[in-house]
């Protein structure tokens, strides 16, 4: 192996500092959430305790944390499933040019770059004028999709750009119907990437704030609840909540990575199930 150039060590150091910058603050509140009973929002630690976690589970003086967590969880799964289905379906459509495909593509990009508060405001106005009540499962759900679908679609584009069409052609030559091709050739091949889309769909929804702000109605999602807490909670209990929800996000990411890894192993061992349809 050739000698590392000097620039390598400089860049490696830079990268380490960058990681510290990314993770340092989160780790700090992780430590501070174990602050002792009389401790405040900054160092020094006044002893070590689980006091703030206990408060999170005991009293509900500050809103409805567990209710909002359940809602965020349900909403996350709804958004996840819809994102996968809708963006795969649209991805299949986009493989061929159709009248209006360019417009739809730029509309999707607009959906991604538009200031979130505009979606929130617009959807809120529509619901009010139509006399519907805004609710996290209707208006909130739709508003979040305008954020997760572009990400899903961009990932699917990247996948199909690298997709070897000869598999599909081989299936067609052997007399497979279009639906059989999708079900038994395309979907198994792109399955690992779909897990990536699902992960994005869930986590982006679970953490979404701005697009849900005016569209969630009277029942808050977790990020809205946490933001509400920042204005009236001045104890480390908010760090404890932050630590828990971050750990939850990390666990979800871990599960998804594990599934991708297992799928990869399985595929390496027994091959894909392409051909099982015969």
């Amino acid at each position: 192996m050739e000698q590392r150039p000097r620039s390598f060590y400089f860049l490696a150091a830079f990268f380490c500092v960058f990681l510290l910058f990314l993770y340092g603050p989160t780790l700090t509140i992780g430590v501070l959430s174990f602050q002792g009973k009389g401790g405040g929002l900054t160092f020094p630690m006044r002893g070590v305790s689980l006091n703030w976690f206990r408060e999170l589970f005991e009293q509900q003086a500050v809103g409805d944390i567990w209710g909002s967590f359940r809602r965020s969880l349900a909403l996350g799964f709804m958004v996840m499933v819809s994102t996968v289905v809708v963006s795969v379906s649209a991805g299949l459509a986009f493989r061929k040019k159709f009248a209006g495909s360019t417009v739809l593509f730029y509309l999707t990009i607009t959906s991604l770059v538009i200031p979130s508060i505009l979606v929130s405001l617009g959807v809120g106005l529509i619901f009010n004028q139509l006399g519907f009540k805004v609710h996290w499962a209707t208006s909130g759900f739709g508003s979040q999709l305008t954020w997760t679908l572009p990400f899903g679609l961009l990932i699917i584009f990247a996948v199909f750009n690298r997709f070897d069409k000869s598999y599909e052609e081989a299936a067609r030559d052997q007399g497979a119907t279009p639906w059989q091709i999708i079900r038994h050739v395309i979907l198994p091949i792109i399955a690992p990437s779909l897990i990536g889309v699902a992960l994005f769909g869930f986590t982006l929804s679970y953490d979404e704030f701005a697009r849900t702000l005016l569209t969630a109605g009277s029942y808050n999602t977790l990020p809205l609840e946490i933001f509400g807490m920042t204005t009236n909670v001045t104890t480390p209990v908010i760090y404890a909540l932050g630590t828990l929800t971050t750990l939850f996000s990390l666990a979800i990411i871990g599960v998804f990575l594990l599934v991708v890894w297992i799928l990869g192993k399985r595929r390496a061992r027994i091959g894909s199930d392409a051909g099982k349809a015969l």
């Binding site: 830079f14 160092f43 529509i126 704030f209 908010i238």
Partner: protein, 284 residues
């Protein structure tokens, strides 16, 4: 044949189209309509008046706030680009094993999938009056008094932006760099180019599409933001997003809508200019 294939495509694209129509096109249309409406203290009423726009363009606050928005976007862009490019360059050209590359790349991406609000809150123990930064600087003897401008200032707002959004630079730039044919870099070296010459004349030009996509992300995220500015400045600084959210809080929807229309036009113009430099679909 062509017809039936088109109809299959429409069937497959229909769900996406439906969502975007219902939750993007129609709501934006509604904002446009409401921007001409009038408002009393408690309600809004349909009308066609230009009062909201007239007020918006006659108020000096508007120009100040738009200027602040561009300032945040520009400074954040400079920092996220230089940090993001350096990180992506290290990952793409200096990390040799592919599994190490994947692992480090994942490490960079994970924070993106956790809560932005929590990531903002987590700066408080660092930047506060008695925070880690001030305590450290005082104990080193660099300063005698705690610095007041670390938290609830432009500094903390931009720091949070860079913290939240550098990832949006790293990912597209890394993606483009990974597709640069390594033999081009070797050819540059073989012809006697120095490391910096290769970087500037070979790698940077070939990375431009990635830089553009990252720029679009960062600029639009910062320009459309309201929550980072509100939280990290302790409500002491303003950008256009906050102007809108303040109007909403006061139930002045028509005025919020007019500001939103102007913000949307501004963002779309900026994107339109940036898109002239890159074909997004080719770069994925």
């Amino acid at each position: 044949m062509g017809k039936s294939r088109d109809s299959i495509a429409y069937f497959q694209a229909a769900p996406l189209m439906a969502v975007l129509l219902a939750f993007l096109v129609v709501p934006i249309g509604m904002i446009f309509v409401v921007s001409f409406w009038g408002a009393t203290e408690f309600s809004i009423y349909p009308a066609f008046q230009l009062d909201n726009y007239a007020f918006l363009f006659s108020s000096p606050v508007t120009y100040k706030v738009f200027f602040a928005t561009f300032k945040y976007a520009f400074i954040t862009w400079v920092f996220t680009l230089s940090i993001g490019f350096t990180v992506a360059y290290f990952l793409a050209f200096h990390v040799r094993s592919q599994s190490m590359q994947t692992a480090l790349f994942l490490l960079c991406t994970i924070p993106f999938l956790t809560s932005n609000i929590i990531r903002m809150i987590s700066w408080i123990p660092f930047l506060g009056r008695n925070g880690i930064a001030n305590q450290t600087l005082i104990s080193w003897g660099v300063i005698d008094e705690p610095l007041e401008w670390l938290l609830y200032s432009d500094f903390s707002v931009i720091l949070a932006f860079v913290h939240l959004y550098t990832l949006f630079m790293v990912v597209p730039i890394f993606n483009t760099m990974m597709r640069i044919d390594k033999s081009l870099v070797e050819a540059a070296y073989d012809n006697g180019a120095s490391g910096l010459q290769t970087l500037w004349h070979v790698i940077v030009p070939l990375t431009k599409p990635g830089i553009m996509i990252g720029t679009i992300f960062v600029v639009t995220l910062v320009m459309g933001d309201f929550i980072t500015v509100r939280f990290m400045s302790g409500s002491q600084k303003a950008n256009v997003g906050r102007l809108i959210s303040n109007d909403i809080a006061l139930l002045q929807y028509p005025s919020a809508a007019a500001t939103a229309v102007v913000l949307l036009c501004t963002v779309l113009i900026v994107i339109g200019v940036l898109l002239r430099f890159v074909n997004i679909r080719k770069e994925l």
